[in-house]
């Protein structure tokens, strides 16, 4: 067992939450984007997370239970919002423009969840560190 195992898991969690925040920012920035290198409007993206075993944890009993997290993939939302804007250069012949399916309120809610999750992991890290430091103070 290693106190650094908790650190490794915290690190993976923080990386995952950072990636989620990156994707949310990207969705917010591209809320009106109608042109992409692949063609068509920007597609709303979401991060899919997967559990990952941590090398050499606690021993056999907890080996199966303790998991870090990793970014499995980035899913794309293929749906588009059709908005009537005949003056837009990307409007079709009926005057409708395909806009990304980004809902500002949903993205803000996701952002709050992500930042709170990040804070929770930081708190877990601090608690682990304090445990280690308290252990070193033992017997003084």
């Amino acid at each position: 067992m290693d106190i650094f195992t908790s650190f490794k898991i915290c690190s993976s969690g923080l990386t995952a939450q950072r990636a989620k925040m990156d994707v949310i920012t990207s969705n917010l920035a591209n809320v009106e984007t109608t042109r992409t290198p692949e063609g068509g409007p920007y597609k709303r993206k979401t991060v899919i997370l997967a559990a990952e075993p941590v090398a050499d944890v606690f021993g056999t009993a907890l080996n199966a239970a303790v998991r870090a997290v990793k970014i499995d993939s980035i899913a794309e939302d293929g749906a588009v919002k059709m908005m009537y804007e005949p003056s837009h250069p990307d409007a079709d012949d009926k005057g409708y423009v395909a806009k990304p399916n980004v809902n500002l309120i949903m993205e803000m809610a996701d952002m709050i969840t992500t930042s709170r999750n990040y804070e929770a992991i930081v708190t877990a890290f601090d608690a682990t560190k304090n445990m280690a430091l308290r252990t070193l103070d033992m017997g003084k």
Partner: protein, 101 residues
Amino acid sequence: MNDMLIRGGDLLPPSLHTPKSTVEVQNEAKPFSSVLKDAIADINKLQVNADETIAKVQLGNTASIHEAVIALEKADISFRAMMQVRNKIMDAYQEIMRIQV
């Protein structure tokens, strides 16, 4: 230093020495000085690792801030653990030096 043998690898936390050295210490009572040297080398490696991560963050490469901070904390905790070991050794040494002859 050979007369100060420490039997059993329980002095240092498991993270501070490699499994190889634990086995050796338990089997053939490795000199204490080399256990300490191994531990210091491991801790130094963590410090160097923390430095490298910070350099990466400053250069805007792959590493992110939290990785640098976590590397620093790892280095900090292992250094503190080493200092505790050192304090115990110094206590023992001073105790021996106080013996009246």
